[in-house]
Symmetry: C2
Subunit: 273 residues, 2 copies
């Protein structure tokens, strides 16, 4: 774990997708680890509540991080034009950690996408600022985002809708509320298009802490399901009719409970540290 | 496909688990293939309705197979003592195909288990009689049966209840209504105990035709999900607490739509014939 996390750091920051419904009150171990990683008492955590349409989401998270003992504020970005304001960008540049709340990931992609804020988040993360996001805030993190799709375990043609995301990594596609909303089928459908990436399905109250070297470690109540299509020998996606099941041969699957790890670069899984 | 299917055949019969809700009226391709396999017009299909508590289940299936153009009858086995009756055993010995209906698989295991009927079904299948079963009738087929469990994609300790089944094969564990009832987690939990077997999750209105050489072919509307733990490098089942997620590393997963195949002996999957 790096001891300093300023943006002058040449090491990348962590990317920390969380599966939604993260515990905030009683033993909030996931949010506390993000707080510690971001500098503990010296942290400055910036909350981006854009995905949510509730006015209290931003202040509530900022209050929560402040109650842990660091500085925290939220930036009220509700329209694309907000992303061009100097004070918003200045606030981002002071952060040691950025937290993207849940809500609707299409609000994140349509409002932040292609603006100086999106560019700045990528640049800050590349220079050591940790970026966490829960639910919609987790979905937006990767280059390829799941915008929506069907539930159920069987992957089907038309079973998933993809959109460009923030691009903090292009090695994974993230899905969240994974077990609770039964999303393994749509994640496999997303992977069937192009088996370059690994699929990361995160249960509620569970997080994937991905370090600068691409080592993902699970923390929380549920599991992270990793789908690795790297050795896929066949995908019928190209010639399957709408709504029909997709044949996929040779997918690798890991279920990782708290403490287990997966390297998103080498595609190797480990049962514990 | 063998042209003769008498019990004198030295080749084994097919084992044909179906995922439930199999189409009976409009283009019943799955039941028709079972009818053809059992000899077409020369078939004699015996229906075992024991899993069901509805009195019409047995007669309805017998009528359906007769309407396809062969002989068919059902045996009213409702109590263990029925399994010791000579006429029941005689009826079984005349069959070229045996069809086990849906219902409650624990009725099948508690009523048939350890009786001459169970022994006779195994023996007949070993000598060329095809055995099909839908839903509960599919679950009972393998040596290790899933009796019940939790739904959802994440495997958990206590997430599945196992019981001994009919033992037509010990290479697979079968689950059914797979996509519709969200059972990938409980199937993985079943495999986490002992990765010797492959897990076969069959969607509704879908069947796995397993030939005498162990080659499984998918037929129907949905998919068959194959979980192959043969190269599993870690299962935390032995030291996971009740209800907690199980870490599983190195599971192989195939999703097979109609026409795709899987060899249950060699664990190889094929996209088509």
């Amino acid at each position: 774990m790096p001891s300093t996390t300023t943006q002058d750091n040449t090491e990348r920051g962590y990317v920390i997708p969380m599966g939604g419904e993260v515990e905030k009150v009683n033993k909030p171990i996931i949010l506390e680890r993000f707080f510690e990683l971001s500098g503990g008492p010296k942290a400055n955590i910036l909350v981006i509540p854009t995905a949510s349409e509730l006015t209290e989401t931003g202040p509530d998270y900022a209050d929560l991080f402040e109650s842990m003992g660091c500085r925290s504020r939220y930036i009220p970005v509700d329209e694309r034009e907000d992303c061009f304001k100097d004070d918003i960008q200045s606030a981002l540049k002071e952060a040691t950690g950025i937290f993207i709340t849940g809500g609707n990931q299409l609000r994140l992609s349509t409002i932040l996408g292609g603006t100086p804020v999106a560019k700045l988040i990528r640049s800050l993360n590349a220079h050591g600022v940790h970026v966490a996001g829960t639910s919609a805030g987790a979905a937006i993190m990767s280059e390829h985002m799941i915008a929506g799709g069907a539930s159920g375990p069987t992957p089907r043609e038309n079973g998933v809708t993809m959109a460009p995301g923030l691009g903090l990594t292009n090695r994974i596609i993230i899905d969240q509320h994974f077990s609770q909303r039964d999303r393994i089928g749509r994640l496999m459908a997303a992977l069937s298009y192009n088996p370059f990436v690994s699929g990361i399905g995160i249960d509620e109250n569970t997080a994937a802490f991905i370090d600068p070297n691409g080592l993902l470690e699970v923390l929380g109540h549920g599991a992270v399901t990793v789908l690795d299509p790297g050795e896929l020998s066949h995908s019928s996606m190209a010639n399957t009719k709408p709504e029909e099941p997709i044949t996929l041969i040779g997918m690798k699957l890991h279920v990782l409970a708290s403490g287990a790890q997966y390297n998103i670069n080498t595609r190797e899984a480990y049962s514990e540290k």
